[in-house]
Amino acid sequence: MKVVKKIALVLLVAFVGIQFIPTERNQSDSVPSTDFMLVNNVPENIQKKLQVSCYDCHSNNTDYPWYNKVQPVAWYLEDHVEHGKEELNFNEWDSYSSRRKNSKLKSIISQIEDDEMPLKSYTLIHRDARLSDNEKKIVLDWVSKLKDSL
């Protein structure tokens, strides 16, 4: 019994302890002029969808729910955001060369088509980030049109 208590205590101390390790928050007040929404004429419904479903990991500003401020969940999320921004950062869209824009749009289409994005682990909690079949089609049609216009 003593051992169990000790383990519980250690776990508790560790849990509280890791809360004090600072995490870099992916948050920014300003939207740079290179942002995808600012340089493309994006219809409002698609803007909203991209914002909710993509921007948390693919921009400089994540909308954090409370549980994502708790460690170790926050670490896990930070890792995703970091990797996500590396692959595609909508805020930096216009700094990409047209070659890169084209290739990014192609990847966006294929990731959405194959249901690989938004990530399952993300939509599990963020239910509003899911794309219904109809939403998928609307977004895909629009992104394809943008790609063809480049």
Partner: protein
């Protein structure tokens, strides 16, 4: 003894913590069955349609119809400079291409690593102005696709190979090569929108369809 247990627990905690940090979403290794459907709808009965595009290449001139799949592609014959500096890049690209023709994911990944290495060794000190700018754009894109080819399942490798092929094609057009290359085209790749690839051999070996349909495609151009 008690101390030992406590230490063990702390170590275990640290381990779990680190695992959580480094944990990445495992990418789905879904096998792509699309190819089999497409095969059924494709008339490949003669098995020699790839030869139709063959011409007497001795004069280096070709009069193939322009194709829709290469809208964004530079004319591969734009530069006839016999450049040896691009050879390691092209060789690594060919390594990926050949691996994909035999559905070999691991070899393709090795080719991706070789391509990244070839790009970082490339000496761009004598590139200037527009050429340098365009090279940098190609480099950025091609490296990104090579990196994805290293870590992706084969259907994704092929998607990245589509864009990579355009990049390498443009690189050859921009800087030239000493090698003899064929620009081949597969109308069924890229979800039926078509895609090109470069080959070092005249014979068609399709990297997009792999062993399911190795001879699908036509030669569009020859360089050198």
């Amino acid at each position: 003894m008690k101390n030992l247990k406590v230490t063990t627990v702390i170590l275990a905690m640290a381990f779990i913590g680190l695992t959580a940090i480094s944990c990445k979403d495992a990418k789905k290794e879904n096998t792509n069955e699309e190819g089999s459907q497409m095969e059924a709808s494709h008339d490949n009965s003669d098995g020699h349609h790839d030869k139709e595009a063959m011409h007497d290449n001795s004069d280096g001139h070709h009069d193939e119809d322009s194709d829709s799949s290469t809208d964004h592609t530079r004319d591969i014959e734009a530069n006839t400079q016999k450049n040896t500096a691009t050879t390691p890049i092209i060789d690594a690209y060919i390594q990926i291409k050949n691996a994909l023709t035999t559905d070999n994911k691991n070899e393709a990944a090795k080719g991706g690593t070789a391509l990244v290495a070839a790009f970082s060794k490339f000496d761009m000190s004598n590139l200037t102005g527009e050429t340098h700018k365009e090279y940098m754009e190609i480099l950025e894109s091609a490296k990104e696709h090579a990196e994805h080819i290293v870590k992706s399942p084969i259907d994704h490798q092929r998607e990245h190979f589509e864009v990579l092929s355009t990049d390498i094609n443009d690189l050859v057009a921009l800087l030239g090569t000493e090698k003899t290359l064929y620009q081949d085209s597969c109308p069924m790749a890229n979800n039926g929108k078509g895609a090109i690839w470069l080959s070092e051999v005249e014979e068609i070996k399709n990297p997009y369809m792999g062993i399911k349909m190795p001879t699908c495609g036509t030669i569009q151009k020859q360089i050198n």
